[in-house]
C-alpha cells in the first residue's frame, strides 16, 4: 500500500515540476534570477564518466583521490572524504551518468538551520561552511533535503564536509576546479540566469535528447546547480518528491510567532496574576 502511495507521489511530483517549469518558462522572470547567484550546469548527455572532476575536487580540497571504480547501478555516495560523485544509472533511455554534490540552494535549509551561521549562503551563490563558527551540532544534516553535509564522526576535531563550489577560487576570479577539469564541458560555471537560459536553449534545440525539465530550477525553491538529463529525473537518482518551495519557509511560521508570544503571553500572565491576587485578600505569594 505504501508503495502505491509513493508512486503516486512521484507522479504528482513530476506533474508538479513540469507544470511549474511550463509556467516560469512563459513568465521568464522567477525571483531567484534577479540576485545573480553563480551556479553550475551539469549536462548528463555530455558527461563521459572520466571522473576528472572528482580527482580535481579531491586535489583542491586536500582529500584522498577516488579509488573506487565506476560501475553501472552501484551507487557511490558522497562522504566526509568525497565532496562529489559520478554515478551510472540504468534508465528507460539507456545508461546515464549523473553527478551529485551540494545543490547550493537559493534558500538553503542547512544555512537556515545553522545556529552559528557556519553554513552560509554567500551573496555570490555558493553555500559555504566556516570552521571557526561551527559547533558540530549536525542540525544542518538533519535539515538538508538532499542529505549533503557530511560529518567526520571519527575525529576529535570534526569538520563538516560538503562542496563549496570552490568559493575561494571564485573569489580569486577562477572557475571551480571541477568545471576546469571537465574535458567534455559537461559541467559549466556561470551566473544562474545565464545557465538557465543556456539549459532552455539546449532543450529547445534538441527536444528529443532531453526530458523537458531542468532539475534545480524549482526544486527546494531553486538551486544553484542545474541539471539536464536524457531520462526522467527519478530514474537517475533524484528524489522527485521534494517540494518546490523553499525549505526554510517551513519553520518561518513558527519563528515569526515568537516575538508576538514574547509580548502577549507575559502581559496576559501578569493580568491573570493581578486579577487572582485581588480576589485573594490574604495572599502570600512570592515564595
Amino acid at each position: 500500500m505504501s508503495i502505491n502511495r509513493r508512486n503516486f507521489f512521484k507522479t504528482v511530483g513530476i506533474a508538479g515540476v513540469t507544470l511549474a517549469v511550463g509556467k516560469s518558462a512563459g513568465a521568464n522572470s522567477p525571483e531567484s534570477e534577479k540576485t545573480e547567484f553563480r551556479g553550475m550546469l551539469y549536462d548528463a548527455t555530455r558527461c563521459v564518466g572520466c571522473l576528472e572532476c572528482e580527482i580535481a575536487c579531491a586535489k583542491s580540497h586536500n582529500l584522498p583521490e577516488p579509488t573506487d571504480e565506476l560501475q553501472v547501478d552501484v551507487l557511490r555516495k558522497t562522504s566526509e572524504v568525497k565532496r562529489c560523485v559520478i554515478n551510472y544509472h540504468t534508465t528507460s533511455k539507456g545508461e546515464v551518468l549523473v553527478r551529485n554534490q551540494c545543490m547550493h540552494c537559493n534558500e538553503p535549509a542547512c544555512a537556515a538551520a545553522c545556529l552559528t551561521q557556519a553554513m552560509y549562503k554567500t551573496k555570490e551563490g555558493p553555500v559555504i561552511w566556516r570552521a571557526d563558527k561551527c559547533m558540530g551540532c549536525r542540525y544542518c544534516m538533519v535539515s538538508c533535503p538532499f542529505d549533503v553535509p557530511k560529518f567526520e564522526y571519527f575525529s576529535a576535531n570534526p569538520k563538516i564536509e560538503k562542496c563549496d563550489m570552490c568559493y575561494d577560487r571564485i573569489m580569486k576570479g577562477q572557475i571551480p576546479s571541477c568545471a576546469e577539469a571537465c574535458p567534455a564541458e559537461a559541467l559549466i560555471f556561470g551566473t544562474r540566469r545565464e545557465l538557465l537560459a543556456e539549459a532552455r536553449k539546449r532543450i529547445a534545440e534538441n527536444p528529443t535528447e532531453y526530458v523537458d525539465q531542468i532539475y534545480g530550477e524549482n526544486v527546494a525553491g531553486g538551486t544553484g546547480y542545474l541539471y539536464l538529463s536524457p531520462a526522467p529525473f527519478n530514474e537517475v537518482g533524484f528524489n522527485t518528491k521534494l517540494q518546490n518551495t523553499s525549505y526554510p519557509a517551513l519553520s518561518k511560521g513558527f519563528l515569526y510567532s515568537v516575538p508576538s508570544v514574547f509580548v502577549l503571553l507575559p502581559t496576559l500572565l501578569l493580568g491573570i496574576h493581578k486579577a487572582t491576587k485581588d480576589n485573594q485578600s490574604k495572599d502570600e505569594e512570592n515564595e
Binding site: Y153, P158, H273
Partner: protein, 409 residues
C-alpha cells in the same frame, strides 16, 4: 539540620560558612544501598566513555551515521527529557498565576527537578556537539543564526535555567540561613515565573519546530506542520505525569522529609493533577485526530508503521487518559500512578518516533543506539538523581521551611 542553618546565619564570617559547606558536602546515610551499587559503576563507565568520545570522535561510541545524524542523545536525553521537565512551568502557572494554593507544596521539588533536568540534558547536548568549544559563538553573539530554530531553543534553555534557578533560590537561601538574600530572591519569584512560562511555551514547541525542515525524512504519520503545538500540549501531561510519578517515589524514599500535613494532602493533590492530565490528553488526542484527517493519512494506517502509530495513540494516550478520568472519579491513587507511568511511556514513544524511529524510517539501515550511548544516557540520569538526592537531603524542598521564614512574614 534546621538548627544548624540558623546558627550559621548568626555569625557571618566566611570561615564557618566554608566549614558548613564542607560538612554538607559529605554524604549522609548508608553507602551500600541498591541504588548506589547499580548507579556508581554505570556513572564511572559513562565517564570513561565520555573521555573516549572526546579523543576518538562521536562515531567511536555511537551508531550515528551520515543519514541519521541525531540519535538517542538528542531524541531521548534532550527532546524527551525536556518534555518531562514541563511540570515546572505548568505547576508554577497553576500556583503563582492561578493561585491554586493546594499545589504549593509541590512547587519547589518540581522546580528543582526541572532545573536539574535542564542542566543535565543541556549538558548531554554538549556531549553530542562535535565542536563544543564553538558553543560560545551563538552565545556571545559574534554569529547569531537568528533564522535557526535551534538557536532559539538553545537560548531559551539557558534563560530558562536562570529563571528556574531564581524560582528555586529561596530554598538555597533558607539552607544557608541567608535571611536578607531570601527576601530579595523571593521578591523576584513572580517575575521569574512569568518569564519562565513564556520561555517554556516557546521552547517546548520549539523542540518540535526543530524537525519542521526534515519534512521528507520523518514518517508522515508523525510529521505535520503542527508538531510544535502537539509538542507543547503533550508537554503539559508529560510534565504532570512526571510530577505524579516522582512524587510517589519521593514520598517513600524521602518519607522522613515530608510533614504529616503534606502526607495527608497528597491524595487530593494527585487527584487534581490526574484531572488536568486527562483534560490535556483529551485536547491532545483531538488535535492528533484533526491532523490525521487534515493530512489524509488513512493510507498509512494499514502498514507496520500505522500499527505502531495506533499503539502509541491508543495504548499510551487514550487508555491512560481513560484511566485518569476514571480514577479521578473513584479517587484511586494507585490507578492514577499506573496511568502516569503509561503516559510517560507514551511520551517517550512519541518523542522517539518523531526524532529517531520515524526519522528515515524508509532507510535501508536503521539506527539502533549502541550500548555505549545507552550507558552514557543512564550515567547522565543517575548523576542527576544523585544531585537531586543531595539537595533534597539538605535544603528545605520537601520539608517545611525553617521556622524563621514564617516569623518574618
Amino acid at each position: 539540620m534546621n538548627n544548624q542553618a540558623v546558627t550559621i546565619a548568626k555569625d557571618n564570617d566566611g570561615n564557618s560558612i566554608w566549614q558548613f559547606l564542607l560538612h554538607e558536602l559529605k554524604p549522609r546515610g548508608k553507602w551500600l544501598t541498591p541504588f548506589n551499587i547499580i548507579s556508581i559503576p554505570i556513572m564511572l563507565l559513562g565517564l570513561g566513555l565520555i573521555f573516549y568520545r572526546f579523543i576518538y570522535g562521536i562515531g567511536s561510541i555511537t551508531n550515528l551515521s551520515q543519514e541519521i545524524p541525531w540519535g538517542l542523545w538528542i531524541g531521548f536525553d534532550v527532546v524527551t527529557g525536556v518534555a518531562f521537565a514541563g511540570g515546572a512551568y505548568v505547576l508554577t502557572f497553576m500556583v503563582y498565576i492561578l493561585k491554586m494554593d493546594k499545589y504549593h507544596s509541590l512547587v519547589r521539588v518540581t522546580v528543582l527537578n526541572g532545573f536539574l533536568a535542564y542542566v543535565f540534558y543541556a549538558g548531554a547536548l554538549l556531549l553530542d556537539l562535535g565542536r563544543p568549544w564553538n558553543v560560545i559563538n551563538p552565545i556571545i553573539g559574534n554569529s547569531f543564526g537568528t533564522s535557526s530554530v535551534l538557536f532559539l531553543v538553545a537560548w531559551h534553555f539557558m534563560l530558562y535555567m536562570l529563571a528556574e534557578l531564581i524560582e528555586f533560590s529561596p530554598a538555597i537561601a533558607e539552607w544557608l540561613g541567608a535571611r536578607r538574600a531570601r527576601k530579595i530572591l523571593s521578591g523576584m519569584t513572580i517575575g521569574a515565573v512569568i518569564f519562565g512560562i513564556t520561555l517554556s511555551t516557546l521552547h517546548q514547541s520549539g523542540l518540535g519546530a526543530l524537525f519542521l525542515m526534515a519534512k521528507d525524512k520523518i514518517h508522515p504519520l508523525w510529521y505535520s506542520e503542527f508538531i510544535p503545538i502537539l509538542f507543547l500540549v503533550s508537554s503539559i501531561f508529560a510534565g504532570l505525569s512526571m510530577v505524579i510519578f516522582e512524587g510517589s517515589i519521593s514520598s517513600k524514599v524521602f518519607s522522613d522529609q515530608i510533614s504529616e500535613k503534606h502526607h495527608k494532602a497528597e491524595r487530593g493533590i494527585i487527584q487534581g493533577l490526574s484531572m488536568i492530565c486527562a483534560v490535556a490528553m483529551f485536547a491532545y488526542l483531538f488535535m492528533q485526530l484533526l491532523v490525521f484527517i487534515h493530512d489524509k493519512n488513512w493510507a498509512y494506517i494499514n502498514t507496520p508503521m500505522g500499527y505502531w502509530f495506533l499503539l502509541e495513540m491508543i495504548g499510551f494516550v487514550l487508555i491512560p487518559m481513560i484511566l485518569f478520568f476514571y480514577s479521578y472519579r473513584n479517587n484511586n491513587t494507585l490507578m492514577i500512578r499506573i496511568a502516569a507511568i503509561l503516559t510517560m511511556l507514551g511520551i517517550i514513544l512519541n518523542r522517539l518516533n518523531v526524532t529517531v524511529i520515524g526519522f528515515r524510517w524508509d532507510a535501508p539501515v536503521h539506527y539502533v543506539p549502541s550500548w555505549m550511548e545507552i550507558t552514557v544516557t543512564l550515567a547522565v540520569i543517575f548523576t542527576e538523581i544523585w544531585i537531586f538526592r543531595w539537595v533534597i537531603n539538605r535544603m528545605p524542598v520537601l520539608r517545611e521551611s525553617p521556622a524563621w521564614v514564617k516569623e518574618e512574614k
